[in-house]
């Protein structure tokens, strides 16, 4: 009980902080958001998720409010911390709908929490345009829960892109065919590793070193030492934020000489270049954006003005885009009729900060960024499944 009370108090305090926006004669519309503020995924949510909730509300209210059927509403957010615990996510959604009586519930954060919460969103009939879920099961998911939409892609297309990028580098003569690949022993890392191994073999690569390490491993120097001993031409890690940082730091310390260095989640975080500075040059990572495009640059500028932090170069823009799709659909339908909103999302194409998004028959967004590369202090998209603005891939030189 104690634990719950403390969390709720914290959530209330945070919600109160947001309520400070003066609302004039307009009606106020409560919007619910639930994502980790504590627990293992809190660090990621604090970069990619929460600032976008703040920015979106500030943007909508800055325009005057959300226009629904002749009325204009000022938005007000109720935020709940799910402690990175699926059970808490579900409880928070119930609470938002039943007790707080919100009309709009934003999607949760991360693949696991979104999948866990999909049934409860479906039961309330809420449109759930996920922005941080990567899954290959969009077909099955949309059959079971027609209210769920996937925007961030899946393991298969991501792996295919990474293989394509490496093959391109090899065919150009920038790297050989020797590959070292490691993964974090978690659903995310294991799925991608299992996809990637046969795919690289089929593309003619030779796996000279592979291993997995437990989630939360503090010391990755044994892994990097072993990688170095195998002297690969390219290094790939299906990693999570703390290990992405640790692997990169060790690679710099050990002076791991490879022509391609790829780490997964958090490579696209501003904190990555904040920490490694010039050493990030030509590091490859999962995600990417059209960093030179005007839509992203405008968004990044507003993001920094409103939240005081830079967006990341992968999920941030997608999170904001999913809020935009919801906002546009509600305004187009002109009421809070959820079935009509879901129908509108299915049927139309939306112009968002990431570019146009149009869902396919399985509620899946087929065009997303898969691989990016740090070039001159900016993480630019180098491969996607149909997005504009990809830049040329560079060979990785020595660590600076």
């Amino acid at each position: 009980m104690k634990r719950r009370t403390v969390t709720k108090l914290a959530a209330l305090a945070l919600a109160a902080g947001f309520a400070g926006v003066p609302a004039f004669a307009q009606e106020v519309l409560k919007v619910g958001a639930v994502a980790p503020k504590t627990g293992p995924l809190a660090g990621g949510a604090a970069v990619s998720y929460w600032p976008n909730v703040k920015l979106w509300v500030s943007d909508v209210n800055g325009r005057g409010g959300l226009k629904v059927g002749g009325k204009t509403y000022k938005l007000e957010v109720i935020e709940y911390d799910d402690q990175t615990n699926p059970g808490e996510t579900i409880k928070a959604v119930q609470r938002l709908v039943d007790q707080d009586k919100v009309k709009i519930v934003l999607p949760p954060y991360s693949t696991g929490l979104n999948l866990a919460a999909a049934p409860i969103y479906a039961r309330y009939g809420l449109p759930m345009i996920t922005s941080t879920t990567t899954t290959d099961k969009a077909d099955e998911l949309s059959k079971q829960f027609p209210n769920v939409f996937i925007t961030l892609g899946g393991a298969k297309p991501t792996v295919k892109s990474v293989v394509d990028v490496m093959t391109k580098l090899r065919d150009r003569g920038d790297i050989g065919k020797k590959l070292a690949m490691v993964n974090v022993a978690d659903a995310f890392g294991i799925e991608l590793m299992n996809e990637a191994k046969p795919a690289f073999k089929a593309a003619g690569f030779e796996l000279v070193y592979e291993t997995s390490y437990p989630l939360g491993t503090q010391d990755l120097s044994p892994v990097v030492k072993a990688v170095k001993a195998a002297s690969p031409d390219a290094f790939i890690a299906w990693s999570y934020p703390p290990d992405t940082f640790a692997l990169t730091e060790q690679a710099i310390v050990e002076d791991l000489k490879v022509g391609a260095f790829f780490t997964a989640v958090a490579t696209a975080f501003p904190a990555y270049s904040g920490r490694f500075g010039k050493s990030t040059e030509s590091v490859l990572g999962i995600g990417g954006v059209d960093a030179d495009g005007k839509a992203f640059q405008d968004y990044a500028k507003r993001h920094e003005q409103v939240t005081g932090a830079k967006p990341d170069y992968w999920a941030s823009a997608m999170v904001y885009s999913s809020f935009q799709i919801l906002e546009k659909s509600i305004e187009a339908v002109g009421s809070f009729d959820n079935p009509a909103i879901i129908k509108h999302v299915k049927a139309n194409s939306f112009d968002t900060v990431i570019g146009p998004i149009k869902f396919d028959d399985h509620n899946n967004n087929p065009a997303f960024w898969t691989v990016g590369q740090w070039q001159g202090g900016v993480f630019k998209g180098v491969a996607s499944t149909g997005r504009d603005g990809a830049v040329a891939i560079q060979k990785k030189g020595a660590w600076k």
Partner: protein, 288 residues
């Protein structure tokens, strides 16, 4: 050879994480579940000073240690002394302390979220290679190891040789009898608790130079510290050092020679084996 050095470096890190808890649990008899949060707070201060003013974490510790000492002293006096006063037995004090500090850990996480935000704090400090016996190691890890040697050595000398250290050991062994020979048990326990907090926060500042932390990662360190303290024997500085080094060496051996996926399994296997054959820990005294 590089396996041994890497293992020792990791062991040094573990000693930094666990030493403070050993003082708090072993000497002041408070099973502090909010120990990890103190570590994260120390790490954050180091991060803040480094990104804000390029002040070296090695200097920051001289600010972190006294502030953490004072803070922990206050925590002890306000929240924990009443528990120690009314507890009729050691068992009751342990249960009360666990519940209280469990609650405090949530308060601490909430406060840190409010002040620091939920983002990862990570920065690069001394991430340059150092050559030992022809192999490369991160300079920040070597620095943390040297600091661990310094801190643990100083603590051990102080506890073993000085009069103040002796009084602390006395209240650890026999709090009732210690009073009879004129030791102010309440003050000495507060001192041990505060000292433990200061050591933990200092450790946090040092390990933040190579680990990536956020406001809610404290619990991971509390668990690790708890395992090490219990393995080494509650209330014995030597035990904590030996257990920490053992764990570091074992994890590195397994990671390099068998499989990195088995490090956790190996660590807990060692824990279970030690508990089976020496339930009081490597250096612990058997409880009557």
């Amino acid at each position: 050879m590089d396996v041994v050095v890497t293992g020792l470096l990791l062991g040094g890190t573990y000693a930094l994480i666990a030493m403070g808890l050993n003082l708090q649990y072993g000497m002041a008899r408070i099973m502090n579940l909010a120990n990890g949060e103190m570590l994260v707070a120390g790490a954050f201060v180091a991060f803040w000073f480094w990104t804000g003013g390029q002040i070296s974490p090695l200097l920051t510790v001289f600010l972190v240690a006294p502030v953490a000492f004072l803070l922990n002293w206050l925590i002890y006096v306000i929240f924990l002394r009443p528990l120690a006063k009314r507890a009729k037995s050691r068992g009751q004090l342990e249960v009360d302390a666990i519940l209280t500090t469990f609650g405090l850990s949530f308060v601490a996480v909430g406060l840190m979220l409010a002040f620091f935000g939920g983002e990862y704090f990570s920065y690069s400090y001394l991430s340059t290679p150092v050559y030992i016996f022809g192999d490369t190691y991160g300079a920040n890890r070597v620095t943390a190891f040297l600091a661990a040697v310094l801190i643990c050595g100083a603590l051990w000398l102080w506890l073993a040789r000085s009069r103040a250290g002796m009084t602390i050991r006395a209240i650890s062994v026999a709090p009732e009898s210690a009073r009879l020979v004129g030791i102010d048990v309440r003050r000495t326990a507060a001192l041990a608790f505060a000292l433990g907090g200061a050591v933990t926060a200092t450790g946090g500042s040092l390990i933040s130079t190579f680990l990536t932390l956020d406001a809610s990662t404290g619990v991971i360190f509390t668990l690790k510290a708890l395992v090490i303290v219990i393995m080494g024997g509650v209330g014995d500085v030597r035990g904590t050092i030996v257990a920490a080094l053992l764990l570091g060496l074992l994890e590195t051996f397994v990671a390099r020679l068998i499989d990195p996926g088995l490090t956790l399994a190996a660590a807990y296997l060692l824990f279970v084996v030690i508990l089976l054959f020496r339930p009081q820990g490597l250096f612990g005294r058997p409880t009557a």
